[in-house]
């Protein structure tokens, strides 16, 4: 099997994640889609790390995980705050910042 298949898979997962961000209205599901996209890129990093024969890609993937964890914490806190105020977690509801 060609190791590039991992990369193809990653592209596929990334696109699915992007579609999720665009299509879903529940803020938490949108957030999950974002996580999926991050994971897809991580897969790419790991795959290329192996293809290149060094560990830099894995280190980067590690950092992505750390940052994603931090992002999840803050993001979920924001979603909770919004939910408290609006009694809704729909991303379309918070649209006052506009023209």
């Amino acid at each position: 099997m060609n190791p590039m298949n991992y990369v193809y898979l990653s592209a596929l997962l990334f696109s699915i994640g992007a579609a999720g961000v665009l299509l879903r209205r529940n803020a938490i599901v949108v957030f999950m889609s974002v996580e999926l996209m991050l994971n897809a890129t991580n897969l790419t990093f790991v795959a290329f790390a192996r293809m290149h024969g060094n560990l830099d890609g894995q280190v980067i993937a590690f950092f992505v995980m750390v940052v994603a964890a931090a992002e999840v914490v803050v993001g979920l806190a924001i979603i909770m705050t919004i939910f408290r105020a609006r009694r809704s977690a729909s991303v379309d509801g918070a649209n006052l910042l506009k023209y």
């Binding site: 996580e35 897969l43 790991v46 830099d56 931090a70 979920l76």
Partner: protein, 265 residues
């Protein structure tokens, strides 16, 4: 992808890995599609967790045992559970409506995602990389190799990451914290409030029909044999997950019928 047999040989992987890939990859894609399409957020979260587990398998297969374990522990274990917690806090009250409110968003989103994916695939098709393998890099062990990199070349990024984590923790606390703006009610006031308000002074009836359906989703039976509506959680009522309360006149069902109910939501 590669033109020459030599290169093909160099880029080929072992059969075991190929089997693993062709088993896990469809699972991951299907799970992520399910996450995208399922109407209930809890299902999405669980399907995403499945996808992440598949990815962890890929990491392990690609000489990244540390990342694979971290993926399982941090992502599937911590992050996804955090998601579930928040889902419970926010309420699993309703599932998403299928009606798209933004005009053209759905068509445009699908088109953009497909187009972007196609472009990515096309771009990847041009990439020619030999499969060097990580045997050399991992000769002292994967964790040791990563540690050597993190604490040498990436030490600054690592330190900055620590600052980021602290900031994120603080930020989450600030955001989630709610300032109390009135005096907390005393016990006496609370009990006065409970009796004056005409509310149920005693504890509500517990759910479940003992010996047959000892479960939170089954209302208790009142002495006259009718189900007690107040005995089940409102959340379950809102989700439509309440089972039929077996009344005095209810026909006795067999066990298989009862188990099959669980999937019919």
């Amino acid at each position: 992808m590669s033109g020459t047999g030599l290169l093909l040989a160099a880029t080929d992987t072992g059969t075991g890995e190929a089997v693993l890939f062709w088993v896990l990859a469809p699972v991951a894609v299907l799970a992520s599609l399910g996450m995208l399409l399922s109407r209930k957020a809890v299902h999405s979260a669980l399907l995403l967790a499945l996808t992440m587990l598949c990815l962890a398998g890929f990491y392990l297969a690609q000489d990244a045992p540390f990342l694979g374990v971290v993926q399982i522990v941090v992502y599937t274990g911590a992050v996804m559970m955090l998601f579930l917690f928040v889902l419970m806090l926010v309420g699993v009250d309703s599932s998403d409506s299928l009606v798209e409110t933004l005009r053209g968003q759905r068509v445009a989103a699908v088109a953009a995602a497909l187009g972007f994916g196609a472009l990515l695939m096309f771009a990847i098709g041009d990439v020619v990389v030999d499969n060097a393998g990580l045997d050399q890099a991992n000769r002292d062990g994967n964790v040791q190799g990563l540690a050597a990199l993190i604490f040498s070349r990436y030490v600054f990024a690592f330190e900055v990451t620590s600052a980021l984590l602290i900031t994120a923790a603080l930020g989450a606390m600030v955001l989630a914290h709610r300032e109390r703006i009135e005096r907390p009610l005393s016990q006496r006031e609370l009990s006065v409030q409970r009796f004056r308000g005409g509310m149920h002074p005693a504890p509500l009836p517990g759910p479940g029909v003992y010996a047959r359906h000892n479960a939170v989703d089954t209302p208790a039976l009142l002495p006259d044999g009718s189900p007690a509506e107040t005995s089940v959680s409102r959340v379950l009522i809102a989700r439509g997950d309440v089972r039929q309360a077996p009344g005095a006149d209810v026909v006795v069902r067999d066990a298989s019928q009862i188990e099959g109910d669980g999937d019919d939501r």
